[in-house]
C-alpha cells in the first residue's frame, strides 16, 4: 500500500504542441480507490500510463509513496496493471499467465504455485488454471487479468477500462466484484473509465479530466452535489443536468414568468448579463409557473417518468429533462411549466463556466 502523487505531471506527444496531460496535480491516499473519468481524448489513459511508466513524463514528477518514480522503469515501480484488452499471453495457460511476473522475478516454483492458487481461489478460477486464454469466456479472461495483478501483491493497481469489453449485465456484476475485492485487499487503485456511472459507483474519489486538464476531484457525492464548473455539472449524472442561460433581472435571473432569486453579490460579480443555471432533472417539478417547455417525449421508467422537452422562452430550443411521477406524466406535445427546488440550483458564470454559488 502506498500513496500516489502527481506533481505538475505533463505529457506532450511527439509532434504535438498541445499537452495530452497538462500539469496534473493529484494526491491519492493509501488504499484509496480513485477513478479517472472523462470523455475520450481527455488524457485519463495517458495519466494512468504515465504512472505505469509506459508513457514518458515531459515535466513534473510522479511519486509512489515517498519514492520519485518519474524515471524508474515500469517493472521497478511495484505496480500491476489490468488492460482493457486484458493482454493475456495467448501461448500460456491461465496459471502461467498469472505467475509470469513472479517467474521473471525469480520466485521459487512452490511459492508461485501457492500464490497463483490463492488468487485463483479468490477469483473462482481454480478449475481453469490449466486452460489457455482462448478457451475462456470474456468474463473469465477479465478475472485472469485481475488475478495476474493480484498475485504480484503490488503497492498500486492500475486499471484501464477493465470492464468495457464485457456485456452490460456482466459489467454491473463485475463492477461490484472489483469494488469488493479492492476493499478487501486494501490496495491503492487507480481506475480509468469513460463511464460516469462506473465512476460514481466504484470510486472513493473521482477525478474528472477534460482536454488534459483536471476539472475537479472529490467524492462522487461531492461532484454530484457541488460541481465546480459547467463541464463537471454536465458530465456527472444521468440523465445530465439541465444547463440554461438565464438573463439577469432585479434580484435574480428570469425563468419564464418567475424570477429565480440570486444573491446580490453573485449578480454583481458575474461577467455579462446572464448566468448559467444548472438544475438536475430530479430537482425540477411541475408547477403552474416557471420555465415553459413543450414536451417532446415521456419516458416512463416505473415509479418515475422523465419528461424530455424544449425550453420555450428563455434559452429557447434548449433541451430540458425533468423527473416526475411515473403514474401521472404530462401528455406528449403539451406545454408544461417547471420550477426548481430552491436549494438545488447550481449557478455558473456564463463566460468562465466556473461555479459562482
Amino acid at each position: 500500500m502506498a500513496t500516489v502523487t502527481f506533481e505538475n505531471a505533463t505529457r506532450i506527444y511527439p509532434g504535438s504542441t498541445k499537452p495530452a496531460v497538462d500539469c496534473l496535480n493529484l494526491q491519492i491516499e493509501e488504499g484509496e480507490f480513485l477513478v479517472l473519468v472523462g470523455p475520450s481524448g481527455c488524457g485519463k489513459s495517458t495519466s494512468l500510463r504515465m504512472l505505469a511508466g509506459l508513457e514518458d513524463v515531459n515535466s513534473g514528477r510522479i511519486l509512489i509513496g515517498d519514492r520519485d518514480v518519474t524515471q524508474v522503469p515500469p517493472k521497478d515501480r511495484d505496480i500491476a496493471m489490468v488492460f482493457q484488452s486484458y493482454a493475456l499471453y495467448p501461448h500460456m495457460t491461465v496459471a502461467d499467465n498469472m505467475g509470469f511476473a513472479l517467474k521473471i522475478a525469480g520466485m521459487s516454483k512452490d511459492e508461485i504455485k501457492k500464490r497463483v492458487a490463492e488468487a485463483a481461489e479468490i477469483l473462482d478460477l481454480t478449475e481453469f488454471l490449466g486452460r489457455k486464454p482462448k478457451a475462456l469466456s470474456g468474463g473469465q479472461r477479465q478475472r485472469v487479468a485481475m488475478g495476474r495483478a493480484i498475485v504480484r501483491n503490488p503497492q498500486v493497481y492500475l486499471m484501464d477500462e477493465p470492464l468495457s469489453n464485457l456485456d452490460a449485465k456482466l459489467r454491473v456484476q463485475t463492477r461490484t466484484q472489483i469494488g469488493t475485492l479492492q476493499r478487501r485487499l486494501g490496495v491503492t487503485t487507480v481506475y480509468v473509465t469513460h463511464d460516469q456511472v462506473e465512476a460514481m459507483t466504484m470510486g472513493d474519489r473521482v477525478a474528472v479530466l477534460k482536454d488534459g486538464l483536471l476539472m475537479q476531484v472529490g467524492t462522487p457525492r461531492h461532484l454530484y452535489d457541488r460541481p465546480d464548473n459547467v463541464f463537471v455539472a454536465g458530465f456527472m449524472g444521468s440523465p445530465a443536468m439541465n444547463l440554461l442561460e438565464l438573463t439577469m433581472a432585479d434580484g435574480g435571473v428570469r425563468m419564464g414568468d418567475i424570477v429565480l432569486p440570486v444573491e446580490r453579490s453573485i449578480l454583481d460579480a458575474a461577467t455579462g448579463s446572464s448566468l448559467t443555471v444548472g438544475m438536475r432533472p430530479e430537482d425540477l417539478s411541475l408547477s403552474d409557473h416557471g420555465l415553459a417547455i413543450t414536451v417532446d417525449l415521456v419516458e416512463v421508467v416505473g415509479a418515475d417518468a422523465y419528461i424530455h422537452g424544449r425550453a420555450l422562452s428563455e434559452d429557447s430550443g434548449k433541451p430540458v429533462v425533468a423527473r416526475t411521477d411515473g403514474r401521472r406524466p404530462p401528455e406528449k406535445g403539451s406545454t408544461v411549466h417547471l420550477t426548481p427546488k430552491p436549494d438545488h440550483v447550481h449557478l455558473f458564470d456564463s463566460v468562465s463556466g466556473q461555479r459562482v454559488s
Binding site: Y86, L88, Y89, H91, I104
Partner: protein, 325 residues
C-alpha cells in the same frame, strides 16, 4: 510492315477467340439444366485442371517411378539396382551428404537471420529502406544470384589483382589466399553455395516474420514490460512463441525450396568438387550421363524426402485452423 500488321491482327483474333470460347463455355455452364447443375459445374470447372494435372504431374511421376526400376535406357527391368547404386557409390553418398548439409543449415540460417533482422529493424527509422535492401535478392533469379556470387568468390593467383570481393577482402585483412579457388575446396565450397541460398531466402523470412511481429498486440508487449521481462526474455518468452506458427511456415517453405536447389549449383560449380546435390545430380545422371535409371531413382529419393515435410505442414495448418475456431 505488312508482316507486323498481320501478326497483330492474328494476335487480336486469337485473344478474341479465346474470350469467345471461354465466354460460351461459361454461358453453357450457367445455363445447365437445374437437375444436377452443381455436379455439372463441378465437373466443368475441375475437368481441365484435373486433366492437365494428370498429364503433367501424375503420369510423369508414375513414369519416373517406373524408370527407377529400369536400366539406363529403360529397356530392361533391374529391380532395386539403381537404389543400391545410390547408397553404395562414393560420389553419390557425397551428394546425399551435401543435400543433408543444405537441409540442416540453410533454413535455420535464413530463418534466424530473417527473424533477427525483423526484430532489429522493427519500428526503427528507415525500416522500409532496410526491409527493401534485404528483400531485394528475392527478386533476383537463382541463376543471376549464382553468377553474382561466383564473381564475389572469383579467385586470381595471389600476385595478381583480385576481382573477387571475398578474396580481396581476405587479402586486405592479411589472410593467406594461396590455397586457391575457394569454390574448389570441399567441403567449404558447399557452405559457400549455401550462403547464396541464405542470401536469397533471408529476405522472404524477414518479410513474413516482420509482419507476424507487428501483429503482436501492443498491450501484450506492454504487459510483459510491466511483468519485468528483459529484452532477452521478451524475445524467448513473448515474441518467439507469438510468431511460432509463422516461423514454422517460413522454415518449411525454405526447406522445400532447398530440396529443389539446382540453379545455384549449376551456375557456380556444375556439381564438381563435391558440391552436387540430389536435384542437380538427378539432372546430371539422366541428361548428361544418359543414365535414366539413376536419375529416376534420385528423383524418387527427393520426392520421399519432401513428403514428410509437406505432411507436417498440412498437419500444422489443420491444427492452426482448429485453434482459430
Amino acid at each position: 510492315m505488312d508482316d507486323w500488321q498481320s501478326k497483330v491482327t492474328m494476335l487480336g483474333v486469337g485473344v478474341a477467340a479465346f474470350f469467345g470460347v471461354v465466354g460460351l463455355l461459361l454461358l453453357l455452364a450457367d445455363r445447365a439444366p437445374k437437375t444436377g447443375r452443381e455436379k455439372f459445374q463441378l465437373l466443368f470447372f475441375m475437368g481441365p485442371a484435373s486433366l492437365l494435372l494428370l498429364v503433367g504431374l501424375v503420369y510423369p511421376s508414375l513414369k519416373t517411378l517406373m524408370y527407377s526400376f529400369q536400366n539406363s535406357d529403360g529397356s530392361q527391368w533391374v529391380g532395386l539396382r539403381n537404389y543400391k547404386w545410390m547408397f553404395t557409390q562414393d560420389d553419390i553418398l557425397i551428394v546425399l551428404r551435401n543435400t543433408g548439409i543444405w537441409i540442416l543449415v540453410t533454413p535455420l540460417a535464413a530463418t534466424a537471420i530473417g527473424l533477427l533482422y525483423a526484430i532489429l529493424i522493427d519500428r526503427k527509422r528507415g525500416e522500409v529502406v532496410a526491409k527493401t535492401l534485404l528483400f531485394m535478392p528475392m527478386a533476383i533469379s537463382f541463376v543471376g544470384a549464382g553468377i553474382i556470387w561466383k564473381f564475389v568468390y572469383e579467385y586470381r593467383s595471389p600476385n595478381k589483382d583480385q576481382i573477387g570481393l571475398l578474396p580481396q577482402i581476405m587479402k586486405w585483412l592479411g589472410f593467406d589466399i594461396k590455397g586457391g579457388a575457394m569454390l574448389m575446396n570441399a567441403p567449404l565450397n558447399t557452405f559457400l553455395l549455401i550462403v547464396v541460398m541464405v542470401w536469397i531466402w533471408a529476405g522472404f523470412a524477414m518479410v513474413v516474420l516482420s509482419a507476424a511481429i507487428k501483429a503482436i498486440p501492443t498491450d501484450i508487449i506492454e504487459a510483459a514490460r510491466l511483468d519485468g521481462v528483459s529484452s532477452w526474455q521478451m524475445f524467448w518468452r513473448i515474441t518467439l512463441p507469438s510468431v511460432r506458427p509463422s516461423v514454422i511456415v517460413v522454415y518449411m517453405t525454405i526447406t522445400i525450396g532447398v530440396l529443389k536447389v539446382f540453379d545455384i549449383v549449376r551456375t557456380m560449380t556444375q556439381g564438381f568438387h563435391e558440391t552436387s546435390v540430389v536435384a542437380y545430380e538427378m539432372y546430371f545422371q539422366a541428361f548428361q550421363g544418359n543414365e535414366y535409371g539413376h536419375g529416376a531413382a534420385l528423383a524418387v529419393a527427393l520426392f520421399v524426402l519432401v513428403l514428410p515435410i509437406v505432411g507436417f505442414q498440412v498437419h500444422q495448418m489443420r491444427r492452426q485452423r482448429q485453434e482459430a475456431r
